[in-house]
Amino acid sequence: MPSSIPASSTAEEACSLDRFKKMIKSFGKNRYMAIGGTLIAIFMSLALFAPWLARCDPLAIDPVNRLHPPSFAHWMGTDELGRDVYSRVVFGSRTSIQIGFLVVFLSTALGLITGLAAGYFKRVDAIVMRILDGLMAFPDIIIAVTLAAVWGSGKLTLVLAMVTAYFPRMTRTVRAAAINVCDLEYVESAKSIGCTNFYIIRQYILPNSLSPIIVQAAFIFAAAVLSEAALSFLGVGIKPPTPSWGGMVSQGRTYLTIAPWVIVFPGIAIAMAVLGLNLLGDGLRDHMDPRLQF
């Protein structure tokens, strides 16, 4: 709609500045997004500035000082090998972010292709969806263990396992959005005037599917962070000694009663990151749904 307004460059600038201000304002009004955004910002900066924020080498082992409670020297105590929990939590954010981003990127790409195909081309729908039904039956643990055989255990294995497990969700989201849009009059009219499929998808379907995709992406990110913990629980997670939140929580569960700090701090980190992502997802959903706007 705004593009249809012919305007001078200054007017357009003013307009976009106004829109930007409006957006910031609505960001502020949307508590979910504000809190979620803050949490994610903290999460991101932890990962970005890890080497400066960490106080020790996250891999430095010091068995004499194992399982020490939080102190001035070790803000979050030390773990079973005497490593600094705080530094490991800080560096662990990198692992979670890397995994999260890769999973989101790959599953969105796959989900878009399959979802648009299924939603727009009715003939492919049945085939694509049945294959996905089959895929969803495979727990990510099986995929993780199998892939570990081929590549060895590591981030890539985890990422691919999670992508296989999560992209069908994205496909379903995209497909549902596409089906909804496809039946609208303006798509039918576009078809009738002979627009190409590619044009219709790009011009009408994609923009209309965008908000559910972004929301779903935030949730998949959150699920990936949690899933890393679940897979670590079974011993197919990130290989030690690389710090990862899931690995810390699952290996530290033995020390729950003796040295709760070993599991509580990375656990809180997971909960906060996931909370932030979910809040952001919820907030975005509210924000992008025009009916819910002020």
Partner: protein, 544 residues
């Protein structure tokens, strides 16, 4: 208004933290009431002992697997002709006596009379013969005896068995009674043995104080007292001597998760939980319902080299790694407080007759970065990462590997610790390439150094060790097996130990304790490398 809104979310998080503090703060103020010392023996009878076990066996036939979980439950059901006493000496059990003749090559075993199997039949020679023959071909221990074995026949009457060996085999009785790797020769009825053939037993029947009442793999095994049990009339000592079935029932529940095993003892649901981390000691000691049970020096830890692959096909590289390792640090990281571990170069523990404390001087636990660097250079190490392969369930190994990585990298090694689930790790290590070091724990309280023969020598187990040194090791073992004079044999044992420290096909680390959790009301469980529940009883809780 807006402050209120956002604060709600944070309040929720604080509630979450609150949950933790409830759980963390100890309620261990109440001291347990000390009950009066056990009154008459009669009062000990009755009740069910519920045990939280860590590993779940697929069946209950100890002959068909070397995994400890396949034997532990069977110890209640089956008995051997001989059983080890507290000093690891083979003592007649189902056997009344044993005469060794023909210079050590013939064993004349007299059986106890009137011993009943769980199926009601009396044990006689033909049962022993059938069991022995199945043991020879199916059991790992039996297979080690087989090359030395000649025949087993009935002697004079149904209560006498004659075993003849082709050549001397010093540890013969020790293997028959062994408590490691399920080597023991258990006596089962002939009919049961024949029905099973080479397949795992469907229907475990023995002479033991408890008989099987139900077994659901992955869930539980239920044992009930065998009322017609005929005990040995001698004081109990480890597995030998009198066994009394005080409890009516023993239920083994299979629970792989340590936290759940401990929680069950603390909450009063379980009477015993096996194998918990030694770090739990304080928690258990401070719990009003639970008590820690330490079994000292149960295990010894090893780093096993893959001798087929560079760099460790070169002795210099093995020596270099040895000089990297500060074993105290590894022990501390894996087993915590020093009361749970000892550094000891001997392969047999102190109470064994084959203890050799003087070996390994200048080799065992001699961290020396300079020397390590020099040896590493001499070995021509190309800088390819050394793979330490671990199974994720084996936390001791995973932690030891991480400490070793830090130590070895200081001297110029590149180390890659690879952790897999157990089947994957086992699969990888069974191949000649893809790994360089496999850390593993072994039961330390062995009856005889013979068990080491299964994995120390040319191409034994996973070592892929095949050179002049390994063949020399084979020769030492062969001599050890046929030497029956104790003092001469001890010399061979020392020679064997020295030979390992010279050639380093693996590096011995520390001996460490295993911690179990016992409910205070359960009495009489001995701190032994194998945990048994005969002779154990539950204190009756006065109705409150």
């Amino acid at each position: 208004m807006s402050d209120k809104k956002s604060s709600v979310l944070w309040v929720c998080l604080i509630i979450l933290l609150g949950c933790f503090s409830v759980m963390v703060c100890t309620s261990g103020k109440t001291l347990a009431q000390t009950s009066a010392p056990a009154d008459s023996d009669k009062a000990k009878f009755g009740g069910t002992i519920t045990v939280a076990w860590n590993l779940a066996p697929a069946h209950l036939d100890p002959n068909k697997s070397t995994g400890s979980e396949y034997g532990d439950i069977g110890y209640n059901i089956f008995e051997g002709l001989f059983e080890p006493d507290a000093g690891q000496v083979a003592t007649p059990h189902l056997a009344e006596s044993c005469k060794v003749e023909n210079g050590g090559k013939t064993y004349l075993v007299t059986l106890r009379r009137g011993v009943k199997f769980h199926n009601g039949k009396e044990m006689i020679a033909e049962d022993v013969i059938a069991s022995f023959n199945r043991w020879l071909t199916n059991n790992g221990g039996g297979k080690m005896v087989a090359p030395y074995f000649d025949s087993i026949t009935q002697g004079a009457g149904p209560y006498e068995v004659v075993i003849r060996l082709k050549q001397l085999y010093a540890p013969f009785l020790n293997i028959l009674s062994s408590n490691v790797a399920n080597q023991k020769m258990f006596v089962m009825p002939k009919s049961v043995v024949e029905a099973a053939g080479d397949k795992p037993l469907d229907n475990p029947v023995g002479t033991g104080p408890y008989k099987l009442a139900g077994f659901i793999p992955d869930q539980h095994a239920k044992l009930v007292r065998f009322t017609e049990y005929t005990p040995v009339k001698k004081p109990s000592s480890f597995m030998a001597g009198e066994r009394k079935a005080y409890a009516d029932e023993i239920v083994y529940k299979f629970l792989p998760e340590e936290a759940v095993r401990i929680a069950g003892v603390q909450s009063g649901e379980f009477d015993f939980a096996v194998q918990v981390s030694t770090d739990q000691y304080k928690v258990l000691a401070g719990d009003p319902k639970a008590e820690p049970l330490i079994v000292p020096e149960t295990m010894e830890h090893f780093f096993i080299f893959n001798g087929a692959q560079p760099p460790f096909n070169n002795i210099k590289a093995r020596q270099a790694l040895n000089h990297c390792l500060g074993i105290d640090a590894i022990a501390m990281a894996t087993s915590g407080d020093s009361k749970f571990w000892v550094l000891d170069p001997s392969y047999m523990i102190k109470k064994s007759a084959w203890y050799t404390p003087d070996v390994g001087k200048g080799v065992y636990n001699t961290p020396n970065i300079e020397k390590a660097r020099q040896l590493l250079t001499e070995s021509g190490y190309a800088g390819t990462p050394v793979v330490i392969l671990c199974s994720s369930a084996d936390t001791v190994s995973v932690q030891a590997a991480q400490v070793a990585k830090a130590q070895a990298e200081a001297a110029g090694f590149k180390v890659d610790v690879q952790v897999y689930d157990r089947p994957t790790a086992v699969g990888i290590r069974s191949k000649k390439e893809g790994w360089n070091i496999f850390p593993s724990g072994f039961i330390a309280s062995n009856p005889d150094p013979q068990v080491f023969g299964a994995w120390m020598g040319t191409n034994r187990w996973i070592t892929n060790w095949d050179d002049a040194d390994s063949r020399k090791m084979d020769a030492v073992f062969d001599r050890m097996m046929v030497e029956i004079d104790p003092s001469k044999r001890l010399d061979i044992v020392k020679e064997w130990n020295q030979e390992i420290y010279r050639t380093l096909p693996f590096i011995k680390l520390h001996n460490y304790s295993i911690l179990h959790a016992r409910a205070k009301r359960l009495q009489g469980v001995e701190a032994q490398p194998r945990i048994m529940f005969w002779n154990a009883w539950k204190e009756k809780v006065p109705a409150s």
